[in-house]
């Protein structure tokens, strides 16, 4: 229904000419530099970021404390957008409803702060006390010191409130206003003093905000703001030191899990619809399956060596007894704290966990396509260009194995320009059913999990997902892709050709160590500079 036969040859010709699978950044763009710029610096253009819901919530909570904001309806904040797999509001503008939502929640938080006015203020409401209070919270919420003019504006608001109201009113209004300012709601980046060109070095405070929102998904703490004030964030060394501090802090756990789940497309597992008739074992295990990946990621990153290779090839994981039983012979033994050890023939690394396998099997018979596509686009960073007007519906015959039907449905040269790479990667996962349980038959026939991978730097004939995992661990394309994904996540934007230098440099510096990769990213040009023209 979507594809008129008459247009096919044209589309086919175009697809064949352009190739289905592209590299990112192929469509770039202007050169680095420009008048008044740091002309030797290359960084992709970044547009104005508005805080995501979770950033707003964590930033406010960090400033006012979890107890004070416990009843706030953060769920009523404007919804977030995504850029690729990652949450980002870079493409979402404001409208009256989002402004009203920010107004409403700021009033809600302001009222709670007002109810604790005396405790928050902590002094006698002398002019100096009030001014200090405005400066303290202004700095935390604006993520930079307030200008004298701004201090006086808030003093004016305070005085007006106090003319016919209690202290509570002044504190309430101050927070209500601060939380609606562009300085709080956006990550304003005008560049360091004197920077006005197309590529601008960021000020220390702007770098502090980038670091905090990247590594904590929250605003900078007082230490970070101090570092900015003292110029420590003006050098790569200073940025590195703070990046290491933030990364070591447990607040970074949230970021690690956020990155991993968004990157691998498993962030929707909590609410993913899974057919309970076909897979009755899934629902009781849903939480355990989500926990497994979280526990694994944190252990791998914090306690193990955080090597990208091991992400794909780890011979351990963490599972509840029920989940371990679900994995059956894939688990050879178990250790303390829910640790399980894996039989490398069946399970290995994050891609054979039930989370990834289920998330990419939303329609189980199409799982090979979804899983293969995820490997190709998420792990190899290939961009697929779906031509317009393609009917992607496949009417499956349930009495036949899905693999054969997918092969038949995508056998034309036209389909093969993409599926020639997608399908083999997905077929390697044929030993896992729609919720990741090991299987040896599909629709009564023996499973065929062998396939020939083409178009990568680890091409070859493979048998099963664990053989693929070992090759992914060796792939330079995969290592570079992981860098690219972290950059997208950290900067909440797509990458551009001008970011290639940063991506290459961080990949090289990290040598496969994700902890070092994160630090290298924070010190990269793309992170420390802002390109302000498209």
């Amino acid at each position: 229904m979507k594809l008129a036969a008459a247009v096919l040859p044209t589309v086919l010709a175009l697809a064949a000419a352009a190739g289905c699978v592209g590299r990112i950044g192929d469509d770039e763009r202007s050169e680095a530099g420009g008048p008044g710029s740091e002309s030797s610096i290359a960084a992709g253009a970044s547009r104005l970021q508005r805080l995501t819901r979770v950033e707003y919530q964590r930033a406010v909570t960090a400033v006012l404390g979890a107890d004070l904001v416990a009843t706030v309806h953060f769920g009523d904040l404007p919804a977030d957008g995504k850029v690729g797999r990652f949450e980002s509001n870079v493409d979402l503008g404001m409208n009256i409803d989002s402004i009203d939502a920010y107004r409403s929640i700021a009033e809600e938080i302001g009222a709670l702060a007002g109810a604790n006015a005396a405790d928050l203020l902590g002094c006698d409401e002398s002019d100096a006390c009030t001014e200090g209070f405005i400066q303290k919270y202004g700095k935390l919420l604006y993520r930079r010191p307030l200008s004298d003019k701004e201090v006086s504006i808030y003093e004016g608001l305070w005085t007006t409130a106090r003319q016919d109201g209690p202290l509570e009113d002044a504190v309430r209004l101050m927070f209500t206003a601060m939380l609606q300012t562009p300085d709080f709601l956006y990550r304003l980046e005008k560049g360091a003093p004197g920077q006005a060109g197309d590529v601008r070095k960021l000020s220390g405070y702007e770098v502090a905000a980038r670091l905090a929102f990247f590594l904590w998904r929250s605003g900078p703490d007082a230490t970070l703001l101090d570092a900015a004030e003292h110029g420590a964030l003006d050098t790569p060394e200073g940025v590195e030191a703070e990046a290491r501090r933030l990364l070591a802090d447990e607040r970074a756990d949230f970021t690690l899990l956020r990155f991993s789940t968004e990157w691998l497309g498993i962030d929707g597992l909590e609410s993913q619809l899974v057919d309970a008739t076909a897979f009755p074992e899934f629902e009781p295990l849903r939480a355990d399956i989500i926990d497994e990946t979280n526990d694994f990621i944190l252990h791998w990153f914090r306690k193990d060596d955080a090597q990208i290779a091991k992400l794909f090839t780890a011979d351990y994981s963490f599972a509840s007894p029920a989940l371990a039983a679900f994995y059956g012979k894939g688990v050879t033994s178990s250790g303390a704290g829910g640790e399980i050890f894996l039989d490398g023939a069946q399970r290995m690394g994050v891609l054979t966990q039930a989370s990834f396998l289920t998330a990419h099997a939303r329609t189980p018979s199409r799982a090979p396509i979804y899983r293969g596509k995820s490997i190709l686009t998420d792990v190899f960073c290939r961009e697929l260009h779906l031509p317009d007007g393609v009917n992607t519906a496949i009417k499956f015959n349930p009495t036949l194995p899905a693999r054969k039907q997918i092969e038949d449905a995508t056998s034309s040269q036209y389909c093969q320009s993409c599926h020639g790479q997608i399908n083999p990667l997905g077929f390697l996962f044929e030993n896992y059913d729609g919720v990741g349980k090991w299987r040896t038959t599909d629709a009564g026939s023996p499973v065929n999990a062998s396939a020939k991978i083409v178009g990568t730097d680890v091409d070859g004939q493979f048998d099963g997902a664990t053989s693929l995992a070992q090759k992914l661990a060796q792939s330079e394309q995969v290592a570079s892709c992981v860098s690219r994904q972290w950059l997208r996540f950290a900067l909440a934007r797509t990458d551009a050709k001008l970011d290639e230098g940063s991506i290459e440099a961080m990949t090289k510096k990290a040598q496969g160590d994700t902890r070092e990769l994160v630090v290298a990213l924070a010190t990269s040009d793309a992170f420390r500079y802002r390109r302000t023209v498209p």
Partner: protein, 475 residues
């Protein structure tokens, strides 16, 4: 009994009772908006109801002729409104058929009439947001100087513009091109937004709040202007949009305090319940309560409500006196063909699925009749047009042809010739999976709705290569 002509047919007490407020509201709130009290010139209202996955089309169809027909089981609860109904059988969600993506994405096209383009919003399906406003926004914009909210949007979980499973398959309303509207899911905070500034028991507190908000908005505007001046040019349009929206909000907040009956704030749930599929029935009732009050108080004249789209469950059906079932998505698939190879529905299983889908539609009809239309203050009802549509005919086929549409036109609404069952084409959801079999495009209906709401100059909505002009047969 209908409110045409002089004299207040409805005493305040009767209005309050009809609004479900009883004597408590009567004692506290002496006012009703003029637009309600003055029934003779009552303004027109529009209610758009969206439900996903279609229904069992073969069972949904009425029997009989255009003017003499019998409602089927799924629509039977609306029988009291039959003489004001238009059952539309043969409308194609054409923009969805033309665009990429599966039939589910017809939710983004049904009220906009434009294709969902390719894009990054749903990376797995390569789809973006529709590039046009939906008719609620088109109509609301035109009425925006007359009510506090040009349009208002309610929904039940899991509708949201964000989250990995979301996108134009779950969002049916768009303020403008690529500007999706998140329906309000939390009745309590929707209540706060709606009734904020509506005259309450303490006018002095209201005056103080206004004054405070003005100070805060002035401060924020100053900071926005400063930031706009300081930031690089690339950021300017974002600040412009922010500043413009702030101005709109300021105007809304500064509107003369509306005098109306303020209902109780809904509190009979916890925030976590909002994301509980099993409480869709509770939230449907709560949201319908709010919708009725918003229309009664003339806070908006365009009210939209979305039931859970593709990913809902029918666990609450047993509480509603029907057989319980699980996933609506699965049921929709089972009606027609298998969801996955492990699950091959035989004829008996198909029959069960079809019955479950018919039950779901029956329950929804019942909600619309008993929780919304029956309880609307009659003078409001008389000036209201309700349109209930789905993005697909039957979820299992994923077909956007012949989507089920029911319209209920108030007695004084006067735009269409009601009490009719209209059928176009010869579409069969099972046999004609993709063929055009003579239906009429949804875009014509969208034009008709705009015109019925007074936008008589609107002669096209959405993609004009699909169609222009209204659906003439409605008149």
């Amino acid at each position: 009994m209908r409110g045409r002509g002089a004299g207040a047919m409805w005493t305040r007490r009767k209005l309050l009772r009809a609004a479900g407020l009883g004597t408590i509201g009567a004692a506290l709130y002496p006012f009703l908006p003029r637009s309600v009290a003055d029934a003779a010139t009552g303004p027109k209202r529009l209610i758009l109801i969206t439900s996903g996955q279609g229904t069992d089309m073969t069972r949904w169809r009425p029997t009989g002729s255009e003017s003499s027909f019998t409602l089927s089981y799924p629509l039977e609860p609306l029988a009291a409104y039959q003489d004001r109904m238009l059952v539309l059988d043969g409308i194609d969600n054409e923009a969805a058929i033309r665009g990429p993506g599966s039939g589910h994405f017809g939710q983004g096209t049904m009220w906009t009439g434009v294709e969902v383009p390719t894009g990054d919003v749903r990376p797995d399906e390569h789809l973006g947001w529709p590039t046009g406003p939906s008719i609620d926004a088109i109509i609301g914009e035109r009425l925006s100087d007359q009510t506090k909210f040009p349009a208002f949007y309610w929904g039940t979980w899991p509708i949201a513009t964000d989250g990995p499973n979301q996108g134009p398959n779950g969002i049916s309303h768009y303020r403008a091109s690529e500007d999706p509207v998140n329906p309000r899911l939390n009745p309590a905070t929707a209540f706060d937004t709606l009734f904020d500034g509506v005259l309450g028991t303490d006018p002095a507190a209201g005056a103080k709040l206004r004054k405070e908000r003005k100070s805060v908005i002035d401060l924020v505007r100053g900071e926005l202007n400063r930031a706009r001046a300081e930031m690089p040019a690339i950021d300017k349009d974002r600040f412009d949009a922010h500043i413009d929206s702030l101005r709109q909000l300021e105007e809304r907040l500064a509107q003369a305090a509306l005098e109306c009956v303020i209902p109780d704030r809904p509190t009979e749930y916890s925030d976590g319940d909002i994301h509980d599929f099993d409480k869709v029935n509770l939230f449907t009732r709560l949201q319908f309560d709010l919708m009725r009050m918003a229309l009664l108080c003339d806070l908006t004249r365009v009210a939209c409500f979305d039931w859970p789209h593709s990913e809902g469950y029918g666990h609450y059906m047993s509480e509603e006196g029907y057989r319980e079932f699980g996933s609506i998505h699965t049921v929709a698939h089972m009606m027609t063909y298998e969801l996955n190879p492990e699950q091959v529905p035989d004829e008996a299983a198909r029959a069960i699925a079809r019955e479950d889908m018919a039950n779901l539609t029956n329950w929804r009809s019942k909600m619309l009749a008993t929780e919304l239309l029956d309880k609307l203050v009659p003078d409001v009802l008389d000036h209201t047009l309700l349109v209930w549509a789905s993005e697909m005919s039957e979820g299992g086929t994923h077909s956007n042809r012949n989507v089920p549409i029911v319209m209920v036109q108030g007695a004084e609404f006067g735009s269409f010739s009601a009490g009719r069952y209209l059928r176009w084409g010869a579409y069969d959801p099972i046999e004609n999976f993709s063929d055009n079999t003579g239906g009429e495009p949804m875009n014509k209906l969208l034009v008709s709705i705009c015109q019925s709401m007074g936008l008589t100059d609107v002669d096209e909505v959405g993609d004009t290569t699909i169609s222009t002009g209204p659906l003439k047969e409605l008149v």
